[in-house]
C-alpha cells in the first residue's frame, strides 16, 4: 500500500467508477466506490478522502456532501469534487468541499491530484507535530 489511503468515490456512472477504481488501486490506494447515498454514508466513516461527482441524477454533490457531513460531523475525511464543470469547481468552498479535481475522465490527471490530497493530509499532521513541539 503506497499511501495506505482509503478513498471513497461517489458517482452515478459505473464506467467512471470502474476506471477510477482500477487506476487508483493500481497506485496502491484502497478504493471503494458507490453510486448510492446510503452506501456512501457507511463508507466515508473510515475514509481519508471522498471524491464526489457533482451532477448526479436526483441529487447533486453539494446535497450529498451535506448529508455526509451531518452524519459524520467530525470525521477526518476530506471531500473533493470530481467534475469537469469549471463553474462548479470555482464554487467548491461555498459548496463545502475541501477542493476539486477538474478534468474528470482523464485518468492521467487523477493520480497526481489524489496524491496531492494525501500529501496535504500528511502535511497537516507534520504541521501539527511541529506546533506541539514548539509549545513544549
Amino acid at each position: 500500500m503506497k499511501d495506505g489511503g482509503e478513498i471513497v468515490v461517489v458517482d452515478d456512472s459505473y464506467l467512471i467508477l470502474d476506471r477510477v477504481r482500477e487506476r487508483l488501486t493500481a497506485e496502491g490506494y484502497n478504493v471503494r466506490t458507490t453510486t448510492g447515498q446510503s452506501a456512501a454514508l457507511k463508507l466515508v466513516e473510515f475514509a481519508d478522502l471522498a471524491i464526489i461527482d457533482f451532477h448526479m441524477p436526483g441529487i447533486d454533490g453539494a446535497e450529498m456532501l451535506r448529508s455526509l457531513k451531518t452524519s459524520h460531523p467530525h470525521g477526518p475525511c476530506l471531500y473533493y469534487l470530481y467534475t469537469s464543470d469549471r463553474q462548479v469547481a470555482t464554487r467548491y468552498q461555498q459548496l463545502g468541499f475541501d477542493g476539486a479535481f477538474l478534468r474528470k475522465g482523464e485518468d492521467a490527471a487523477l493520480v497526481p491530484q489524489v496524491s496531492a490530497v494525501f500529501r496535504t493530509i500528511r502535511m497537516r499532521k507534520l504541521a501539527e507535530k511541529l506546533r506541539s513541539e514548539r509549545r513544549r
Partner: protein, 747 residues
Amino acid sequence: MSLTHSNPTPADSSGTPPLERSAELPGRFVPIGLKFALVSMLVVGIATAVAFFQATHRERARLIDAKRIAASMVADLLAQSLEAPLDFGDEDALRTELAHLKQNKEVAYAAVWRKGQTEPWLDLRAPGPSFPLPLDHETPGTTAFDDRVETVRAIVGRSNKPLGSALIQFSLARENADLAIGRRDISLYCLLLALGTTALLIGVTRRQIVRPLETLLGAARSIERGERGASVDVKANDEIGRLASAFNAMNAAIFDREQRLATVNKSLRELFDHMRQGIVVFGPDGKVEGTHSRAAGEIFGHQALEGRDARELLYGGVGHWDAERRAFEEWLPLGFEAATEYWSEVVSLAPSELTLNQGSPEQRDLALEFRPIAQQGKVSKIMLLATDETERRRLEREMERQGARHKSQIALMRRLVAGGGQQFVAFLERARRRFDRADEILPESAERLDLATIGEVFQIAHTLRAEALTFELSEMAQVLNQLEENLSELREEARLTGSAVLARVRGDVRSSLGFARALVEESEELFAEASPAGRAALETMAVQKGDVAELVELSRGRNDAIEAVAMRLASRPFGECVASLIEQASSWAEKENKRVRLEVDGREAPVPPALADVLGGVLAHLVRNAIAHGIEPVPERLSLGKPAVGSIELSCRPDPARGAVLVVDDDGRGIDHNPFLARAAEGAQSLRNLRNVALSTAPAATELAGRGVGLSAVEEDLARVGYAVSVATRDGGGTRFEIRPRSAGRA
C-alpha cells in the same frame, strides 16, 4: 607630497554595478581648507592684536615719561625764577619770566597765582588748543593726561614763606602724532604677518592634506562606480601617504576578490545554464529571487522570472480549487517553518511531478525537486530544480498505450482461440486474398480509376470491415471505414465523369489498405501467440474426432505411411497439453510463497494421442514437485545470486522413434539439496529408486507435493503408454526430468 589618481580602466561590463551609492551627508559642504583658514586667521589675528596693543602701550608710556621729566625740569626752573619777582611784587619781571616760556613750543599755557587767590595773577596762553584749568592749583605735582602733561609748583620765598604757585600745561600733540604714525606702521606689519601666515598655512594644508584627500576621494568614488584598477600614486611617507598606500592595498584586494568572484560566478553561471534542469530560488513569500538558469526560463516560458510567485509559476494555469495547487500552497509555509532536520519529511510532501499546460500542445511534464537553503539552522530560501520530462513521459505513455492495446488484443485472441479459431484462420486467409486482389486492381502507375474498379475496391473494404467487426478488430474496422468514405467520394466523382483522379486520395487508399493489411498480419501473429498450438493453429483445420479415432484404429499395425499420417492426425500439439499448467503454475507458486515462470518450447510439436492423454497429469506432478522442492523462496534465490523468479522449462521435440521427447527442467536447488530426491539419487539416476522412497522427506508435507505418491504414479502412468522418465541434476543446481519412449526391447 602629492597623490596622482592614475588612469582608471573602464568598468568591466559583465561585472555587477555597485548596488548603493555613497550616502549624502547632512548639512552644507564646507571644505576642510576653508575651516583651516578661518581658524588660522582667527588665531593669528588675536596674536597680532595682542602684540600691537603691547607695543603701542609701551611706546606711549616711554614718550609720556620723557615728557614728564622735561616738564618737571621746566617747572622747577620757572618756580625759581619767579621767586624774587613774586616776593617783590614786580609784575614786569614776572611777565618777562613767563614770556621766556614762549620759546618752548610745547608749552600751551602757563599761569601764576598769589597765595590764597583763586584767579591767576598773570598767565600766558600759546596759540593752539586750550586745556581746562585744574581745580587744585596749589598742590605741587605733575600729572599726565591723554593730550597734555600738567605740572604745578609752589613758589617759596626766603625763610620758606609760601608766596604762591605756578602751573604749566604742555601739549602732547607732537607725541600723539608720532604715536599715531608708529601705531599705523605696527598694525600694518601685524596685518601683513597675519595674512602671510594664513596664506602659508592654507597653502600647506591644501597641498599636504586637502589635495591628497581629494585624490583619494576620487579614487574611492571610481571604485564605488565599479571601475577597476583605480589606484593612487603615493609620494610621501606621512599619515596621508600611509592612508593612500592602505587604500591601494585595499583596492587591490577588492579587485582581486571581485575578479575571483567574477570567475567563479561565470563558471557557475555556465554550469547553471548547461544543466538541463531549470533552477529557481524563492523566499518565504514565494517570490523568485535572483537569477535563474536558462533552462528555467525555457521551461516556465518567461525570460524574467525574478519577483514572480513560485505558486503562479507552477500552478498559474489552474484555479485555486485545484488539489495540486492547494497542496503546494499548504506546503510552502511548512517548508520554511520546519527546521532542517525535518526536511527529509517535508521534501517527501512536496510535489515530485507537475504537468504544465495540461491538455494543450505546449504541455510539459516536469519532475520537481526541492532543496532547502539554510542559514543558522533555518530555511531561508528554497531551491526548485525542474527537469523537463515531456519527451520521456510521452514515450512512456505511448508504450503504455501500446501495451494496453496489445493486452486487449491478446485477450481478444484468446477468446477467438477458445471459440475454435478455425473461422478466424479462415478470415485471415480470405482477408489476405482480398488485399492481393485490391493490389492487383490498384496498380502503382494508375492515375485515374474507373467506376468499376472503385466499386470493387469499395466492396472489398466493406466486406473486410464487417468481418473485422465480427472479430472485434476495431482498429482495423476504423481504418477500413475511413477507406470506405474516401472511396465513396471517388465513386461520386467517377459517376459524373466516368473516372476519378486518384491524385488527391490515392495515397490514402493505398496506405489505408497497407495499414489494414499490416493489422491483419499483426492479428495473425497475436493469434498464433495466444494459441496453445502456436503457429500450428494456423495450419489446422476442423475434423471430427471420431473420424480420426477410426482412422487410427484402421491403420494400426500397418507400419506404413498411412499409419504414420493417421497417428500424426490424431496427435495433439504439445502447447495444448500444457495450456492449463501455464495458468495454474503461478497460483501454486503463490501458495508456496515462491515466484515461478513457466517457459514452453516446442508448442507445435505433435504429442502422440496416447501420451497426450496422460501427459497433463504427469506434467502437473512434475511441475508441482519442482515448485514445492526445487524452486527456492525469493530471499534464498536472491542470496544465491539467482533471479527472483524461478524458471521451469517445459520442452518437447519430436523423436525419430515415432514419439516425442519431453523435458521438465527447473533452476531450483537441485537433487543434492532436495531432500526428497537426494536419497533416491544416491544409488542410481533411475526414477525407480525415487519411487521406493515411500514417504516424503519434506520437513512438513505441503499441500502441493511431497506426499510420496506423486512420482511413482508418474512412472506408472508413463510406462502404460510406453514412456520412461529419468532424472538428472546439473552443476549449480536445477533438476531435469526427461520423458522419452522406452527402448524397443522394453516397450
